[in-house]
Amino acid sequence: MWTYVARRALLVVPVVMGVVTITFVLFTALPIPYQLLSHYGAPTPKQHCGYSKQCTCATLDPTSVHDGQCTCISPPTVTTPTGICQNPVYHEYVDALGLEKPIPEQWLAYIYRTFTFQWGNVSNYSTVAHYYPKLAGEPVATAIAWELPYTLELASLSLVIILVLAIPLGNASAVYRNRPIDQASRILSFSGYALPAFLLGSLVVAGVILAFLPHTGFDVKSPWCPAGEPIDQEFTYSLPISSACYPGLAVGASYPGWISNGIHSTPTGFLTIDALIHGDPWLSLDSIIRIILPALVIAYGTVATLLRFVRNSMLEVMNLDFVRTARAGGVPESTVVGRHAGRNSLNVTITVLGLTFAAFLGGFPIIEDVFKLNGVGELLAIAADPNPAVDFGVIFGSTILFTFIIVAANLIVDVLYAYLDPRVRLG
């Protein structure tokens, strides 16, 4: 088994290198000002228009230096070819990042930067800085590290829901084929496939808000925040909005000190755990309640695909000889289904879960955006928002992170499969 695991782990290397190469190709396809922006986090300085010896322009327009190229005011006929009449700071930046070196060298430098977590800085003028001012200018890796625990909490809760729903329901719909439970699970999987997460999630949020609207008479407040927070906000956002939810805090302070910036918490970064450490059990419960609805919406979409595979693999296993033999030998039906067939179809379930993991994580930007949660997905969703400006550093960084998680998950799934399958484990 260990040779298998080692061989499988070795296969990760080309995939990881390939993913980084793909992002490198996309990064290089960007115009140079965008590359600089994503690395240095601020626009290249505008006020430096260089009068070098080769520049025949008499007056340069100082405001036109958006991409390092100066516009000539007088005489207007002088065009400014690349490399001449450029702003010197811009050139320094380009040199420092090695953007004019041969592509293979740039590739090596990019790979080095990627694996040393030099993913650039959050642009000061991007949408991310607009929504999270505290993240402006921070390294992308730091910003992602602050947001990652929220995503991991959401992912683990939804994985639990997925496994708890998909395996028993899939098995049941195979055992009771074409009976009501099979039809119900068929409807569940069809509709989960056809209802996009953004639509379902938005409707859930709207439904919660409408249900607890002041006009409807159900004007309920969160139990632990009676003064401030309407209960519908309890099901969106990662943190309570109102400072009134923190009894014992100084007036004006919006969060306890261990949730710095309203973004990340200390010491572990996981709000659920940190709240317990700091003796705030209700905040821990609160942070779990806040991710229940998004986790259910994510699970709905993933269960839809998983359910069919579990059912089909279970159906195939149930027709095999050893199940018939077990039945003929008088083994109770529950044991046949649970131990003989169920154990064997579990392998397929795990494999399929590994295959759908990419789609599962891909849903996070949407879901976290819909429910206004903190998280890497929300960071990516905001960074991709072109109004006012896309932040390419964050986009590339979070895509690479998601991909690494998926590669690691696939590795774990394969190892788990090897462990569960005695032919691999013992052979």
Partner: protein, 401 residues
């Protein structure tokens, strides 16, 4: 074959084998009622698309309602964000003008207020002139449902029914072209990998693995964002370039699924006796690949194709939900179902629900705005899913139990 001793008085004419196979597939497909329902829905959508393409149905920049009494001209309305001037005449019924391009601010329309502003400012609109082809939900009903026949997606008024009808052809075009091109490339690449084997296969499949480990939607986001930054600004208004960028960005992401699917199928097909026979009779490799292997390993592609066609509008909708609309389309609002439903639900979240908190008297939830585009999306996706299921039953002999 043809010399079989038929017992009847006349020799029976067997149809061409291809026709025979098609008839058999159709026979098994026909027995699946749900598949027929799905096919019916898709054909209806195609019909609507053809109808909408043939008739010039107005869909954008059409003032859905116009008012005769909206206060003095050039007077800014209270509670309205930003600067704008009212350019409508002061007296008499307003002639609804059909703008070609949407103005930067929806308020430039005659009486073109956002609905929330009507709620907030408390202006009453005595007469509402609805042009043809607009939905008329209950007018000015009590909260939380009801309201005017407006549709505001992305803050520009448009005719919802016309938009959906016009949207059907673009929706079909995007879905079919993206999945079609992706399937074609994947088919060729996967068949090559499976057929030649060895180093070629190893190299191709590693590349496929790399592509498959990036989540589809993130990959599309990155590709589209990079394309929109890398393309020159002059290309931004070009319909052809924009469409090419959208379709191309998706195809880059889409082909690896098909490559893996086809390759695994080719691995079994290439060991079949008829391939061996073709090889023994001296057929060239290209002929074996294109005449024997690809036609026999293509059926899972059809199944997956019909399944994937339904996901494209959902993905485009997800991108539009993240405010990617202006990057994806040459102008917004754009008649694409995913886009329409995404902008309506984000409007619902952003504007209307907030107005429910602030309005003292009540608020209006424009349920028709997300219900009808959402239903269109839902039925499209579910019908192609049903077709895919029926195709699987019809094409895969093992599934016919």
């Amino acid at each position: 074959m043809a010399s079989a001793p038929w017992s009847g008085p006349r020799p029976m004419r067997r149809p061409h084998p291809k026709v025979d196979q098609l008839q058999r597939t159709w026979y098994f497909f026909r027995r699946n009622t749900l598949g027929l329902v799905g096919l019916g829905i898709v054909l209806t959508i195609v019909g609507i698309a053809a109808y909408a393409a043939a008739l010039p149905i107005p869909w954008t920049s059409v003032p859905i309602w116009c008012a005769t009494d909206y206060g003095p001209a050039d007077a800014p309305l209270t509670g309205y964000p930003g600067n704008y001037t009212q350019v409508c005449p002061t007296t008499g019924p307003i002639v609804c003008t059909y703008e070609v391009t949407p103005p930067p601010n929806a308020a430039d329309f005659c009486g073109g207020l956002w609905y929330k502003d009507i709620v907030r400012s408390g202006i009453s609109f005595p007469s509402i002139i609805a042009p043809t082809l607009s939905f008329s939900p209950p007018v000015a009903g009590p909260m939380p449902l009801g309201g005017l026949s407006t549709s505001s997606g992305s803050r520009t008024l448009y005719n919802l029914a016309g938009m959906l009808a016009r949207g059907s052809d673009w929706t079909l075009f995007y879905s079919l072209s993206i999945v079609g091109l992706g399937a074609l490339i994947g088919l060729l690449v996967g068949a090559t990998a499976g057929f030649y084997g060895g180093r070629t296969e190893e190299a191709i499949m590693r590349v496929v693995d790399i592509f498959l480990s990036i989540p589809t939607i993130l990959f599309v986001i990155v590709v589209v964002a990079v394309l929109s930054a890398a393309l020159p600004a002059s290309a931004g208004g070009n319909l052809f370039v924009k469409t090419l960028a959208l379709v191309g960005g998706f195809v880059v992401v889409w082909w690896p699924f098909y490559a893996r699917l086809v390759r695994s199928q080719v691995l079994t097909v290439r060991e079949q006796k008829y391939v061996e026979a073709a090889r023994a009779s001296g057929a060239r490799e290209g002929r074996i690949l294109f005449r024997h292997i690809i036609p026999n390993s293509v059926y899972p592609v059809f199944i997956q194709f019909s399944l994937d066609v339904g996901t494209i509008p959902l993905l485009i909708g997800a991108l539009a939900f993240l405010d990617f609309g202006p990057l994806l389309f040459v102008s917004t609002p754009w008649p694409e179902w995913g886009y329409i439903s995404a902008t309506s639900v984000s409007d619902l979240q952003g504007d209307f629900l907030n107005s429910c908190y602030t309005a003292a008297t009540g608020c209006v939830i424009p349920w028709w705005q997300f219900l009808f585009p959402g239903l269109a999306l839902f039925f499209f996706a579910i019908s192609v899913n049903l077709i895919s299921d029926a195709l699987r039953d019809a094409l895969d002999p093992r599934m016919r139990r």
